[in-house]
Amino acid sequence: MRKIILIALVLFSGLLFSARLFYLQVYDSTSDSLYQNSAIKIMYDFPQRGYMFDRNGELLVSNQPSYDVMVIPRDVKELDTLEFCGLLKITKEDFKEILHKANVYSPRLPSVVLPQLNKADYASLSEKMYKYEGFYIQRRSLREYQVNHSANVMGYIAEVNNATIEKEPYYQMGELIGTAGVEKEYENVLRGRKGVKYIQKDRFNRDIGPYKDGVFDTLPVRGNDIQLTIDAALQKYGTDLMIHKRGGIVAIEPSTGEILALVSAPNYDPGLLVGRDRSKNFTKLWYDTISKPLYDRGLMGEYPPGSPFKTLTGLIALQDQVVGVDETINCPGGYYYNGRRLMKCHGAHGPTAMVHGIAQSCNTYFAALYRRSIDKYPTVQEGTDHWKAHLASFGLGDFLGYDLPSGKRGFIPDSKFYNKFYNYPKYKWFSTATISNSIGQGEISLTPIQMANFTATIANRGWYYTPHIIKNIKGPDTIPEPFKVKHHTTVEPKYFDPVVEGMAAVYKEGTASYIRIPGIEICGKTGTAENFTRIDGKRVQLTDHSIFVAFAPKDNPKIAIAVFVENGYWGSRWAGRIAGLMIEKYLKGEITRTDMEKYVLDGSLEDEYAKPYSGQPFPINR
């Protein structure tokens, strides 16, 4: 005992220290990362975000410097709170709340105290910052918009939220991230890469030089500039035309799928979402649930397509060979089935063939074609699914796959839908039941960009490129692969010619003959879609939507366009005029139909939009 006690103690302490060291150094590795290291301060150097240009190289958005007051809660020393709050122009309570939140987020990572100081505030504050340990001013770059339109296309940047920070460790609290539009879609291209500096600190929190001589430091990489496919002048013109109206304009270059214009009305000035009033302005836009300025109607609005859909009904019938090009169908003023009128037509068109049918927008003709296409197959289910497959080849009924972060599928019903709808097989259903589809009413809904896309497809006589907004990423100098793939429809090119002729006839003899544009052969199709809303739980019909699709010139088309004006009544009244003006603007650069332009610019539908909120019964379609 006397001989071994000291040896035992030595061995015991050896074991004790081994265990302790193992625990500290190997088992407990919580403090491994550089980010956890109290001796390393991480400083970020934010790069300039990439600029956006339009297709002609006109600058849409650049950057301006902005200054955020940041805090690292761990480093905050006692300070004269009152004086500091006075400098920041915030209340003491707010200040405490902000500090508390910052500390909850992380005591050692920077959080924003006050974002986006203007230059004057920055100047007065920066002199006194030295007094407040733990606080500093971080320079960032903010957007500076060169145009007051296209907010829906460009989108906006905003402070990154916690959910994103958890998913993407690149971002830290207070950093900006593209949250909508192109800013969101091309975030990785535009943002560049922030530079990081690791700074070794001593125990007094003083910088004593770069950590490991800066081997881990990185320089900021400037974001790539991008060129959009939109034409700023056209975009601006479309925005102006849509003032006091609601709806969307989508213009596509058929040969490339490039989106020339994407207008959503009402819109807002993108500059509203920059600077210290950002949150106030954003709240205002966000809570405008009546005119929904943040809602991109061109991409998100699902509307019954109305008569322009007849072109597709015609194409499908031709491909299915259920009608000859010159085969006439008699229109007695409606579509009759077993002596019962299933559908009214605006006038009795008499014997009608394809070109005339489109030009006059004859309901009877297309109802008949639709039934033939469906009834070609043994069952209505098969017929309906074939019909849907044709439409799917035009990119309808599903997301188009364009490069903007918002969108809707639209809806093309299939047999499954109707089986359920009509409770098949308990009850049978026939093509007569779904006959409204033939003229773009019924269950079908499309977004304006889908309409523009099928118009472009008709213009191309049977193929399309997925619409896209990116023209060029400077640097990689390429556009994403999906936009280089040509999609062919299930309808053969030869069947397109009669339909194109019909659309040309719309201007020559048909529903749009009074809105012709001299010198340009436009192919178009009017649409007037019934629509309903609910007021106090009751289904109430509103004034019809005014719809128009067109492309021009007829041969070698340069622009395909879909215009949608909510509650604008008949197709050529608003949408047709706007489409014509847009086409003229794009192709000629100037407007000859100034009468039409004046009509549109001076016109307002605000009274129409106010009707459902008046609380009174109101007349429609006037």
């Binding site: 006397r2 001989k3 006690i5 000291l6 040896i7 103690l9 030595v10 061995l11 302490s13 050896g14 004790l16 220290f17 081994s18 302790r20 060291l21 193992f22 500290l24 150094q25 190997v26 407990d28 590795s29 919580t30 403090s31 491994d32 290291n37 109290s38 001796a39 390393i40 070794q200 600190k201 001593d202 125990r203 004593i208 950590y211 490991k212």
Partner: protein, 418 residues
């Protein structure tokens, strides 16, 4: 043994471990004290440069210690001891006061701390006393004699005051126990230290409460064996008396600078950011090391000087951060190996003097190792004593070198007798 009569065989293992520890110590001091002002390895204005001088001089010292006839140490043990006491006494006249402690003689450029040498002197004196034929450690008279030998330097050091160094004298319980001292003293010594330290760390009220609680608990557990309640009351009362007298002495007899010194040693004073700052920083540094460490001079906590006293008492945290688990374990194993080797050799000594001295050396190194690494790794509360051969400081290095190499010499001469 073979060989000539004058042939002396030194234990090369001990010498090797010594060399290893000293050089590793320097490497880490270099890293811990590296600053922008440094101009290469041989910049003698820097801490690591000075340590290099101390190490160089240690080698000369070793030659001297080994050159002297081994009988000298036994014969002149008393003289050395008295000289050492005189050097401690002299401090009160000529000594230099640093941070409240009068523990140094100033020689222009450098200073000497006699208490570092007093350990070796005391070990020699104790060896000499115990090995006297008439001495029997079971005899109370002799126990008192040994106690006085220990008490004199302790008293002088406590008056400096240098509580850390005083603690080391507890080490002498081990050789005495080895030589027949009753085991109760071992416990008593331990008890006194625990009460002493915890009184200063936590305050006497808490210690008194703790004593009552423990006594009550043990009494309650043993109530069926009808324990003598008077014994319990007496022990508890004396413990409480001890804690209050320590507290009284500390608060009323000591001057402020004495108290400061105690507080520094107990880590209360330098604890600038609340309880446990030093230990916390030291733990962070060690944790940073991981398996293999961050590499020499790459420790972030070390570079940032986060750990106070890093080149002296907290040098092991640099080892932990820069050399990792493997490096730290190597140091721990070297110490364990060294101490066990010394005990092993001590047991083989032909003379009782050699054995007692060897045990003293082993126990002194052990206490330093145990308390220091325990403190740096956060196992024990802060008690500031250096890590032998490792920490920066000329006196400590020389003191330990002399302490160790006298034993190497005695051990080497041991074969001589056969």
């Amino acid at each position: 043994m073979t060989g000539s009569k004058n042939h002396v065989r030194f234990d090369w293992l001990i010498i090797f471990i010594y060399m290893a520890l000293v050089s590793m110590g320097w490497v880490n001091i270099y890293s811990a004290s590296l600053s922008d002002a440094a101009k290469g390895f041989f910049d003698f204005s820097q801490i690591y440069g000075k340590q290099m001088i101390w190490i160089g001089l240690s080698l000369i010292l070793i030659i001297f210690v080994l050159a002297i006839e081994s009988k000298f140490y036994e014969r002149f043990a008393s003289v050395i001891y008295i000289a050492s006491l005189v050097s401690l006494l002299g401090l009160f006249v000529f000594g230099r006061t640093i941070a409240g402690t009068t523990a140094w003689y100033d020689f222009g450029g450098f200073s000497i701390q006699p208490s570092e040498f007093a350990k070796a002197a005391t070990a020699l004196a104790l060896g000499k006393y115990v090995s006297d034929i008439q001495t029997d450690m079971k005899d109370l008279k002799n126990q008192v004699g040994a106690f006085i030998i220990l008490a004199l330097p302790v008293l002088l050091i406590i008056m400096q005051p240098d509580p850390g160094s005083v603690l080391v004298y507890a080490a002498f319980v081990f050789p005495l126990y080895r030589e027949g001292l009753h085991g109760v003293y071992l416990l008593l010594g331990l008890f006194t230290i625990v009460i002493f330290v915890s009184t200063l760390a936590f305050g006497s009220i808490w210690v008194a409460l703790g004593v009552l609680l423990i006594a009550g608990f043990i009494f309650f557990r043993r109530r069926k064996k009808r324990p003598n309640i008077i014994k319990y009351v007496l022990i508890a009362a004396s413990c409480i008396a001890l804690t209050f007298s320590v507290s009284y002495i500390f608060n009323n007899v000591f001057k402020q600078h004495h108290r400061d010194r105690f507080n520094i040693v107990l880590g209360k004073e330098v604890d600038s950011r609340g309880i446990g700052y030093n230990t916390h920083q030291s733990e962070i540094a060690i944790s940073n090391g991981g398996w293999l460490g961050k590499g020499w001079t790459e420790g972030t906590q070390t570079k940032g000087n986060f750990v106070p006293e890093q080149h002296t008492d907290y040098i092991f945290s640099t080892v932990g951060e820069e050399w990792g688990f493997l490096g730290s374990m190597l140091v721990v194993l070297l110490f364990v190996g060294l101490i066990i080797r010394i005990i092993f050799k001590a047991e083989k000594q032909k003379t009782q003097f050699g054995r007692v001295y060897g045990y003293s050396v082993a126990a002194i190194i052990f206490i330093h190792f145990f308390v220091n690494i325990g403190m740096v790794t956060g196992v024990f509360p802060t008690v500031g004593i250096p890590l032998p051969f490792f920490s920066y400081g000329g006196s400590a290095l020389w003191g330990f070198t002399i302490l160790l190499f006298i034993f190497v010499k005695l051990d080497g001469a041991n074969y001589h007798y056969t």
